[in-house]
Symmetry: C2
């Protein structure tokens, strides 16, 4: 085959097309945009232009439009950790929606850090996009407002705690689900020493889930043992570490709730590594219901979220605003959670 030697051939522009079709560049633009701006185009001219486009292999340069402040045909998405299966269906849903509208998606990882999230914000300010989908852990409403003002894009977020008048928000009713699940753990399964693997207080999700957990204990009249609270970083490794601390206690918990499945799985591994048994020695309850939850043995009992649905809702919300189908105040969509009882409890 013929391979390119020239370092970079100049791109085919509208002007090239115009020259070949013997029309002006504006005419080419009008033919291609299709949008009827009141100026009609002769059928024969249209043909010539389309032919020229075909023979030259013309593709529009999207940067030009972006510069002019038109549509960018680009979405930006910020997630905490692309390696966490929980986010995959969300990313997929967003990308699928994007593809149907011929949009591209820029994805950024934040590693749950504030620096990562701020970097994303600044990146989007430098390169404004039509729609922004966020899974923020640290961003304040002021940050999000800045995003909105500086980029003019439509914004949708995941997270109970986001409450911006112009941002659509999706969230699971995790508090309710946790309250029910822990209560079930206590009443039906008879556990009274329950360990909690959470995250540092800087995550409002973590704080909320911790609150729900505490509330369940309170309602059951179970005292709080500080040694039964450990901190992880959402990863399976950190779940293992936390569990190891629990197991070295003089009186380890009989059940452990981890606020995400990755940590729960790590915790289960740690239990089994000491020769102990799940759920007989220690029961484990997770949160998210990622695919590996059904792969581990025993299968993980967990609280399911619906990330596909969440992604779909966020993408829809954003596109509705992009296409002007909705322009009112920020909407809040609640997606239910539900307990999935398997074998680890």
């Amino acid at each position: 085959m013929q391979q390119s030697d020239s370092p970079r051939k100049r791109a085919v522009t509208m002007r090239d097309v115009a020259k070949l079709a013997n029309v002006s560049q504006s005419t080419v633009s009008r033919v291609l945009s299709g949008a009827d701006d009141g100026i009609p185009i002769g059928e024969e001219t249209r043909q010539r232009v389309m032919e020229a486009v075909e023979t030259l292999g013309y593709y529009p340069n999207l940067y030009a439009g972006s510069l002019r402040g038109q549509k960018t045909f680009m979405l930006a998405m910020m997630v905490a950790d692309i390696a966490n299966p929980f986010y995959h269906p969300m990313v997929r849903a967003v990308q699928d929606a994007a593809r149907t509208h011929r949009y591209d998606v820029m994805i950024a990882n934040t590693d749950h850090t504030r620096e990562g999230e701020m970097a994303f914000v600044e990146s989007v300010i430098r390169r404004p996009v039509d729609g922004i989908i966020l899974v923020p852990y640290h961003l304040t409403e002021a940050d999000i407002d800045r995003l909105l003002v500086r980029t003019g894009g439509a914004v949708a977020t995941l997270g109970q705690h986001i409450n911006h008048p112009q941002v659509d928000t999706v969230y699971g009713d995790d508090e309710h689900a946790i309250l029910e699940a822990i209560t079930w753990l206590i009443r039906e399964r008879g556990h009274r020493r329950i360990g909690f693997i959470g995250v540092t207080g800087s995550f409002s999700v973590g704080a909320r889930r911790r609150g729900a957990f505490l509330e369940a204990l309170r309602q059951a009249g179970i005292p709080i043992y500080p040694e039964l609270f450990e901190i992880g970083d959402w990863s399976s490794e950190s779940g293992g570490h936390a569990m190891n601390v629990f197991l070295s206690l003089p009186k380890p918990p009989t059940a452990v709730f981890a606020i995400n499945d990755l940590m729960a799985i790590g915790a289960m591994e740690a239990v089994q590594k000491t020769g102990r048994c799940v759920p007989d020695d220690v029961a484990v309850l997770g949160f998210d219901d990622i695919p590996p939850a059904t792969w581990v043995r025993p299968r993980l009992t967990t609280i399911a979220q619906h990330p596909t649905e969440m992604g779909r809702v966020m993408a829809n919300a954003v596109f509705e605003r992009i296409f002007g189908k909705y322009s009112g105040p920020g909407r809040r969509f609640e997606v239910p959670c539900r307990l999935i009882v398997r074998e680890s409890v």
Copy 2:
């Protein structure tokens, strides 16, 4: 807090900064670019400009530079399936490298389809980027050449089968690893009826791995039983289906090799669902060594690749070309694979 009411405040441009600092827009550009183009800038002027930048909160509009054909500060990455854990470390590695250079990454899923891959190519032609990282399954060298010519970006790919004179390629020595692993399966573990879960012939990776598998059988003098070859689509579900077919055979295989871990895990699940036992009834061998491979029970014996390393190498190769540190012919980097013996065989 103060929330935005204005739909879209006009962005802060260099001209605004220039006005505030009482200099021309070109001067602002020179101060900010920092690059010494032979034209010096007075220290006092520089101060004034930086101050103005600060007070106005100026951020450059990256589209302007992109339009001028300058650097775009953007990488495009194409992967088959963001939900396959195998790709995560690769994506992460690329994104980490990108971040250190202040680059953003656009990610596209292709779902292993040719349409998806073509859509990516066209998307990148419309929006050229500095660097392109591909995990191609269907793209021909002509397609990749077009990418190169039309965008002028640096290209790195994953995959033995890509052989373009200007594209850097990373690949694992999967043939060798498979040959060894299957031989081991035969000699050390005594298996002679080995099932193969592959993919359709349109994937060259699939064909190559199938070839290595056949070669191992040939070397061991084992005949080929057509009923022991099943086709999947890389997903765990498809692995389960394939295994079900095997199990319904009058004489099922005693071992099954799946060309990726996801299918292997699905296959194991299928075995266990029928009450049978892995590895005693059916041994399962996978490929990739994704994290869930150590979470399942029995733990999956598999051939490990090094996706982090692969991503790192590709990102490096691309950035070396972007920054002009390398500009020679396409390089080929081999990353070793190795058998990880666990419990499923």
